[in-house]
């Protein structure tokens, strides 16, 4: 620093020397000067300009003195100079044609009063933790001089001996200190206090930066520091439990998959329910286009690929995030248009600080994921499983035995066929009882994941930069599931002139995720009997027989299956953003934002010919039959495997221009915004399903035979109908206008209104309704700014907010015209003619869907906002919701859209945070949030006759919430055979007749699958250099069905494992009094038709027989409370003290150890299983991690 100052002085001096020489009389040249609180150097510079005479001085020397105020007109130069230098230890002299200003020799300095008036004040500005604050501003309240602290928090300035300094820093409470100096130097260290609520003095919505005191809408922000990241969790998981009204639901514990996010419940039934993600003002697009049909298509291979391909924000490095804001109500999201109905999540990334020193930061660490084990799965061991099989035989239960290939059934079969002796039989059964194959151990592991991220940031007062590079390798606990990524970002902000600033950002990233195809290890481990050995005596994988197509047995071993199948997903991203900000006039600003994004996603899933998945299609073992044999000729796929791929290229550009006007007239502040936006997404893609794939023979694809033999005739190979190539070519263009007007009076009363209108190139829309208007408005009363509140000191913040919004929507694909669609094969292969199909008839009478949203909020801050609280209430009413109505069959379509639906969402959100303890060494902060959402359908939507729909949560019924489900009313066990009994209406009864149309008439309402009460709790406790943080998340009110106890109506398959509690099943008459667990499913002898029948019960409509054991799976006996309380993470951080680091040139070093997902409290019916993930999916694992953070 010092060198730089000297250099600057010399530069100036050199410049001056080149100036014209000076004549003596020029010292009497008249000079006019009018300056207020100017630095002395500036004043002298003004003199030079005014007089055209060169002055030579050291800037640093003259600036040791307080600023000057001078007002002279046409006075001689010498007089002006004397006046300026009065009170300093400087004098001027004319030497070699130049006026030189320099210090007087010490002798010349009279013991003047001037020395009494100035003092060199220096010091360090620290935060409450003792960390220096760089960039804090120190202002002398008397002279107005100011200084900015350097990165080690130091400042120095000259002030008068009696003055007041005001120190301000973003996020800290401003402080004032009095200077009462006696000597020449004075040290004033300042410790700043955090001002929690003022941390977000502005709310960034992506379109606007709204002053917090003028925010009428509902928004919550969480800072990166308050979110836990260990390298293995996603941004969504980091948000779990952090924001009121934002529910994050994990779907599976696999890595690389994305959880579901819902903001304020479900507000649409037929389209995408995910919120909009926005990064630095740019709306993010999913790499694979949203497809409504695949919503319920869980478990298909495309779904798996889609899940692993990542979503719109997969490219973002969590370490680059500054904070995340969720916008919830109409007033907050209005500028995003119709698509924001599901809420908006705005991510702000880090950028360099102007005027800061260059900072290099490394954060990284490693994580170890805990292996899954049987303790948390509640499954039978070998012995218990063999017991079930033994009971089947000993009781001589009727029914089909699915297999005798494995287990007790196999040994028994051989014994009964006299292949082995009774002794051998007993010996083998004994062996099986102790096999206890640990499928979890074979398919799961304790993986070691690591992540690294380096960032460099800094800046001058003209330009600032932030760049980062990160990489991570993240291994899932299932063998074969991992994700690797590499990301880089560069951000530049430049102040080109006082009026023009510009920012530029580049991001690039690549992600590779590997998963599974055709075999799900968790499902396998969960469902497979432990009495099946995985290896034979020689240690080779042991294959056993599973039924193939037409019942021909095929060999299967899960390890082989996993090795011979695969799923790999690659995503590459590139994003560029340019923002320009131009101050046209004072208060009038033009802003322009240009964004370009490109995503290239590629997913492939394959199975080789050695897998059982392919044997099933081939219908025999690989190599079993050769050319010329009948099975070979009949096989659809005699050679090769399967290869599926999805490829998607996605380019989005975004151009946004806006004019922003702000004016403060007295106590009135007026703000106006008008803008226009263009957003366009072009998606090009290719989906392909191929057969005849050879992964180990040069990844060759050889087409299957064109014809095969079937029932003796030569037919064309039906496999070709499954070979399908699809090209996607879509352009989605949007053109929008938006505006906002805000008026506030004296920071007390705020009124604001916003409007947005969108038009798009969507096909088949009603031209009349092309421009969709949306508006919202709100009011705010800052009670704490009322004069009558000034007197008290307890309440530091109190405001009331209310907002209301209106949004119209015309459902997609329903215009007034008939829309035809090209079928998947455009040419009819039979007729050879082109074809068109009707997609939708024209509906001229459809009206807008109207959603009215109301939000009321209250924020309260106590004791200088040491404790803050906010409460919000909202109500969202959707009228004229476009729903399908069933119509008579004779109209030729099943259903037609009508404006018939009504959906209400109502909820309350509460968040509280505060500093419980605050002292030098001990600080304890906690925050808590909770929200309750009630969602209700107020009109009959689609009637369904199917009980399976009712049990799945897909049925929408008037008066019930979305995701409500119904189950059979379990009435105990049949004392005769231990089969389940269900309360059902008899034929012809009123309930029966109603049940013909609507299964819910005879089923019992069980609750909702989605939670309606969610909460989060975080705590951070610092003692000296140690910080202990923990965060918790709970979701209550949801109900779920337990895993299915029975897979069919017949005897349990020897392959299948069963839940542990099945050991307590009904075994003999009388047991029904002590247990609710049914007996082993079997058939009963029917003397009427002289045969064995499965146990069935009669349900409407005709001839609705349903298997009793299947109904038990969906009965009240299996409904459990899915509420849970999960500890998301606990971490302990040690901030290595500065004195230990100083010698290593390290500014900051912290080490933390953490455990993610340490425990979960659930209903005991779950027997330790994870209720959050979908039934049958891998639970969220526990992760231990170490993270390091170093800055230089």
């Amino acid at each position: 620093m010092k060198h730089l100052v000297v250099f600057r002085s010399l530069l100036l001096a050199a410049g001056v020397l080149f100036m014209l020489s000076l004549k003596a009389q020029d010292t009497e040249k008249p000079v006019s000067l009018n300056l207020k609180n100017a630095k002395l150097s500036e004043a002298l510079n003004a003199v030079r300009k005014n007089s055209q005479i060169n002055l030579f001085y050291s800037v640093d020397d003259v600036n040791r003195f307080p600023p000057v105020t001078i007002n002279v007109t046409n006075r001689p130069l010498s007089e002006v100079l004397n006046k300026l230098l009065e009170g300093t230890d400087m004098k001027f002299s004319v030497e070699k044609n130049t006026i030189i200003i320099k210090r007087r020799p010490a002798a010349e300095n009279p013991p003047s009063k001037n020395i009494d008036t100035t003092v060199n004040v220096k010091g360090v500005v620290l935060n409450a933790k003792g960390v220096p604050l760089g960039g804090a501003s120190v202002v002398d309240m008397v002279s107005g001089r100011s200084a900015v602290t350097d990165l080690s928090g130091r400042y120095a300035m000259v002030t008068s001996r009696r003055t007041t300094l005001k120190i301000t820093f973003v996020g800290m409470k401003p402080q004032t200190v009095n200077v009462r100096a006696e000597g020449n130097a004075y040290t004033q260290n300042i410790t700043m206090e955090e001002a929690p609520n003022e941390m977000n003095q502005v709310v960034v919505t992506g379109y606007q930066t709204i002053r917090k005191s003028e925010m009428v809408g509902s928004a919550n922000t969480v800072k990166r520091e308050d979110m836990f990241y260990d390298g293995t969790n996603t941004v969504e998981q980091m948000l779990q439990g952090k924001l009121p009204g934002t529910v994050v639901m994990n779907q599976t514990g696999m890595v690389g998959t994305r959880p579901r996010v819902r903001v304020r419940g479900t507000s649409t039934l037929l389209s995408n329910q995910e919120p909009v993600w926005v990064v630095d003002g740019i709306i993010q697009t999913d790499p694979v286009p949203f497809n409504a049909q695949s919503l319920n298509d869980v478990g298909s291979s495309t779904d798996m690929m889609r899940n692993l391909i990542g979503n719109s924000i997969s490219w973002l490095n969590p370490n680059d995030i500054e904070d995340i804001t969720v916008l919830k109500d109409a007033a907050a999201t209005v500028l995003y248009g119709v698509k924001a109905a599901n809420g908006v999540i705005v991510i702000k990334t880090k950028r360099g600080k102007p005027g800061g020193r260059m900072a290099v930061n490394y954060s990284g660490g490693f994580a170890v994921t805990e292996q899954l084990n049987y303790d948390r799965l509640n499954l039978m061991n070998s012995k218990e499983r063999i017991d079930v099989s033994r009971e089947v035989y000993e009781k001589r239960l009727f029914g089909a035995t699915i297999t005798t290939a494995v287990g007790y059934e196999n040994v028994l079969d051989r014994y009964l066929n006299k292949q082995i002796s009774y002794d051998q039989f007993n010996q083998e059964v004994k062996y099986l009882e102790t096999v206890n194959t640990d499928w979890m151990k074979l398919l799961y592991r304790t993986p070691f994941s690591h992540n690294h991220s380096v960032s460099i940031s800094g800046g001058t007062d003209r330009i600032s930069y932030y760049s980062s590079l990160s990489t991570s390798q993240n291994f899932g606990t299932a063998r074969g599931n991992d994700t690797r990524n590499m990301m880089g970002t560069l951000r530049l902000d430049a102040k080109i002139s006082d009026k023009l600033t510009a920012g530029m950002q580049l991001n690039a990233g690549m992600i590779r995720t590997r998963g599974f195809y055709a075999v799900d290890p968790f499902r396998y481990a969960q469902e497979t009997s432990r009495a099946i050995p995985a290896f034979d005596e020689a240690g080779n994988p042991k294959f056993y027989e599973v039924p193939g197509y037409n019942g021909i047995p095929l060999r299967f071993n899960v390890l082989n299956e996993l090795a011979e199948t695969g799923n790999q997903n690659d995503q590459r991203n590139f994003n560029a953003t340019l923002s320009v900000n131009y101050n046209i006039l004072n208060g009038l600003r033009f802003e322009s934002l240009l964004g370009l994004g490109s995503v290239n996603a590629n997913a492939e899933a394959w199975a080789s010919e050695y897998s059982q998945h392919i044997s099933y299609i081939r219908e025999y073992e690989v190599g079993q039959f050769g050319v010329g044999s009948k099975p070979y000729m009949e096989s659809k796929l005699p050679h090769g495997g399967e290869y599926n791929s999805i490829e998607s290229r996605n380019t989005t550009y975004n151009i946004r221009n806006s004019l922003n006007w702000n004016k403060l007239i007295g106590l009135h502040r007026i703000g106006a915004l008008a803008g226009q936006e263009i957003r366009s997404t072009a998606t090009r893609g290719f989906t392909s399903n191929q057969f005849g794939y050879f992964p180990d023979r040069g990844r060759n694809i050889t087409n299957p035979p064109l014809t095969i033999l079937q029932y003796g005739s030569v037919i064309s190979n039906p496999l070709y109908s499954r070979i399908k190539n699809t090209i996607t070519d879509r352009d989605a263009n949007f053109l929008s206008w938006y505006g906002n007007l805000t008026y506030s009076y004296d920071e007390r009363y705020v009124v604001t209104g916003s409007l947005r209108s969108d038009a798009s190139n969507r096909f088949g829309q009603d031209k009349k309704h092309r421009f969709l208007p949306i508006w919202a408005g709100g009011v705010r009363w800052n009670v704490h700014n009322e004069p009558w509140m000034k007197a008290q000191k307890v309440v530091s913040e109190l405001n009331l907010r209310a907002s209301y919004g209106w949004q119209g929507n015309v459902a997609e694909n329903f215009g007034p015209d008939l829309i035809a669609q090209l079928p998947s094969s455009v040419v009819n292969p039979t007729t050879g003619e082109y074809e068109l199909l009707i997609k939708s008839l024209g509906y001229a009478d459809l009206r807008w869907e109207k959603t009215k949203t109301m939000n009321l909020g209250l924020d309260l801050g106590i004791a200088s906002n040491r404790f803050i609280m906010s409460i919000e209430y909202y109500r969202k009413k959707t009228d004229d919701l476009i729903v399908y109505r069933e119509i008579p069959v004779s109209y030729g379509i099943d259903q037609m859209p009508i404006n018939g639906g009504k959906l209400d969402n109502e909820g309350i959100e509460l968040s509280m945070s505060g500093t419980i303890i605050r002292s030098q060494d001990l600080v304890w902060n906690i925050s808590f949030n909770t929200s309750r959402n009630r969602n209700r359908i107020n009109s009959a939507i689609v009637r369904s006759e199917d009980w399976r729909n009712a049990a799945s949560g897909r049925l929408n019924k008037e008066g019930y919430g979305v995701s409500s489900f119904w189950v059979f009313d379990f009435a105990g066990l049949n004392p005769k055979d231990g089969s389940p009994l269900i309360v059902l209406p008899t034929k012809g009864q009123e309930q029966w007749l109603a049940g013909e149309k609507d299964a819910t008439a005879y089923m019992k309402y069980a609750g909702r699958l989605e939670p309606d009460f969610t909460g989060g709790f975080s705590s951070a406790l610092r003692y000296k250099a140690f910080t202990l943080t923990a965060s918790f998340n709970m979701q209550l009110g949801g109900k779920k069905l337990l895993y299915q106890m029975f897979t069919g109506f017949d005897l349990p398959s020897a392959y299948a494992n069963m839940p542990k509690e099945f050991a307590g099943r009904w075994k003999k008459p009388g047991d029904e009094k002590i247990t609710n667990i049914p007996s082993i499913p079997s058939r009963i002898w029917n003397p009427v038709n002289n045969q064995t029948d499965p146990i069935m019960l009669l349900i409407p409509p005709y001839p609705g027989y349903e298997y009793a054991y299947e109904m038990y799976n969906y009965s009240t006996a299996r409904v459990v409370d899915a509420g849970f309380f999960r500890c998301n993470d606990i971490s302990l951080t040690w901030n290595v003290p500065e004195q230990l680091l100083r010698h290593m040139h390290i500014r900051n070093l912290s080490i933390s150890g953490a455990v993610r997902n340490p425990f979960i409290i659930v209903s005991k019916d779950f027997k330790g299983m994870d209720p959050e993930v979908a039934t049958g999916s891998q639970p969220v694992p526990r992760v231990y991690s170490m993270q390091f953070n170093v800055s230089f």
């Binding site: 002139s497 005739s713 829309i819 039979t830 997609k839 008579p888 069959v889």
Partner: protein, 505 residues
């Protein structure tokens, strides 16, 4: 700075106010707003004509209800499923549709809805035909096709779900027909069944309106579309069913004037074991195909899921005995239809008994993939029947010989005439009618004619033996003479959605 500001401002204005129309031009990869006659023709191909579509069958169970099929019992893993799937129609149950639905019977059980879905296609085309641009000739062609196809579908619906036209003592003005939907606009009301008379009037009127349009504008139509032959055949069939004999004969004559060719089966090489004949009556190059309409070659194959065994359902021995066919006499096999119209396979593990399994009128190499529709053979038969009925009424010998000549001409194309000349038959009186009816049954089997013919022959009694499990004694189900069940029940799925829809008793 000023220039930067200006250029930004200008580009902003430029972006805002120009290029809008192009940018917001509706775009879709696979959607079209039909605006031309050609596109309506494509809609006809996709929505109206079933040939080649995923759902090309309407009722792949109808022949199970006739005397052309029997059920055999055998134990097999698939047995219980197959028996459950087809028990409903085979035993004429009032809840046959619901039984098939709950047994997950594959394909073609939603007969009622499927016909109306196709009728909707006709209605959409008729609603739009005057508002689109295109060649006038083509426009009238499309209009004619839509009218004719709608008539055809209503005709089929009436034969399935309404009482036979010739039911003795019926009042057609009050007897319920079917719901008559004549435009594509969905109204907020529940349609009622129109009277039989009303529906038949509509069918005739539309057909007579279509006839000149098709005759004049549709000369280039393929066998997959409505042609003049199609309209004449349908008119002749309609008249026949309505016992308007003169008209039936006249329309058949008109149809034959356009095409009178028949496929000479003897000229098609006798197919080898397991093979289908190279060409057949519904092959695309068959000279006698008028309309390659609907259905698929695999319609009844589900009932023959497993090879080398007797079938759960198969063609009746009675029908088999009607053919004068000797497989082993390679010099003169006799009536070749037995081999050419049915799918043959070994029916036991010994590979010695080689029998017909299911009806199949597709050729092997030049398949069109539809097995039902309209053929010239039907015109000969229709004309013969009309003449026989008139002859029986007035004893006109000329009519008798004309009928015999039609029958003999048809038969001469069906018999093995490679080495031996065809021997004409000669009958008179009731024997002629009986012979004719057997001939019609032999020729048009498994083309959805038998059920309709039985209805108009006076709804005779049919008996079906049925056994679905080893421990159960076979039960004989009887469809009485004039049984109400000769009219199919309206499916429950349709009744639930329309409270005004009157069920069939």
């Amino acid at each position: 700075m000023k220039t930067i500001y200006k250029s930004i401002l200008y580009s902003w204005l430029f972006i805002s106010f120009t290029g809008c129309s192009k940018y917001l031009e509706e775009k879709s990869q696979d959607e079209v707003r039909p605006a031309s006659v050609a596109e309506l023709q494509q809609l006809m191909m996709g929505e109206v004509y079933p040939a080649g579509s995923i759902k090309s069958s309407f009722h792949a169970y109808l022949d199970l209800m006739t005397d052309d099929m029997v059920s055999n019992f055998k134990t097999s893993t698939m047995g219980p499923t197959i028996y459950r799937q087809y028990e409903g129609p085979y035993t004429w149950r009032a809840e046959m549709f619901e039984m098939m639905e709950s047994a997950l019977t594959p394909d073609a059980i939603d007969t009622y809805a499927h016909y109306y879905k196709r009728i909707k296609g006709c209605n959409v085309v008729l609603d739009m035909i005057d508002q689109v641009k295109g060649d006038e000739n083509e426009r009238e062609n499309v209009r004619g096709q839509a009218l004719a196809m709608r008539s055809y579908y209503y005709f089929m619906l009436m034969n399935l779900f309404a009482q036979p036209y010739n039911t003795p003592g019926i009042d057609r003005e009050s007897a319920p027909g079917v719901e008559l939907i004549l435009d594509a606009v969905v109204k907020d009301e529940y349609p009622k069944r129109a009277s039989m008379q009303r529906v038949y009037d509509q069918i005739s009127a539309d057909l007579l309106k279509a006839l000149p349009l098709i005759r004049q504008h549709a000369s280039g139509n393929s066998k997959f579309r409505v042609t003049t032959g199609f309209v004449y055949t349908l008119l002749s069939r309609l008249s026949l069913y309505q016992e308007k004999w003169e008209e039936a004969a006249e329309y058949a004559k008109q149809g034959l004037a356009i095409n009178s060719a028949l496929l000479r089966l003897a000229s098609v090489p006798y197919p080898a074991v397991w093979k289908d004949p190279a060409t057949n009556v519904y092959s695309i190059n068959s000279p006698e195909a008028i309309w390659l309409g609907y259905g698929s070659g695999s319609e009844y194959s589900n009932m023959a899921r497993f090879d080398y065994d007797i079938l759960f359902f198969t063609i009746s021995p009675e029908l088999r005995s009607k053919y004068d066919f000797t497989r082993t006499n390679t010099n003169n096999r006799g009536d070749l239809r037995m081999r050419y119209y049915y799918y043959w396979d070994y029916s036991d593990y010994d590979w010695t008994i080689y029998v017909p399994m299911i009806g199949k009128k597709l050729g092997g190499t030049t398949s069109s993939n539809v097995v039902k529709g309209m053929r010239v053979a039907e015109l000969y038969l229709n004309r013969a029947e009309a003449n026989i009925m008139l002859y029986l009424k007035n004893g006109d010998e000329a009519l008798r010989s004309s009928a015999l000549s039609d029958l003999n001409f048809l038969r001469s194309n069906r018999y093995d005439t490679r080495n031996v000349a065809y021997t004409p038959v000669d009958f008179s009186g009731q024997a002629l009618l009986d012979f004719y009816r057997d001939e019609r049954r032999r020729e048009l089997s498994f083309e959805d004619h038998r059920w309709f013919d039985l209805r108009r022959y006076g709804m005779p009694e049919i008996r079906h033996k049925f056994q679905s499990s080893a421990n159960q004694a076979p039960v004989e189900y009887v469809l009485q003479k004039n049984d109400k069940r000769y009219t199919l029940p309206i499916p429950r799925s349709a009744l639930i959605k329309n409270p005004s829809l009157e069920p069939n008793p």
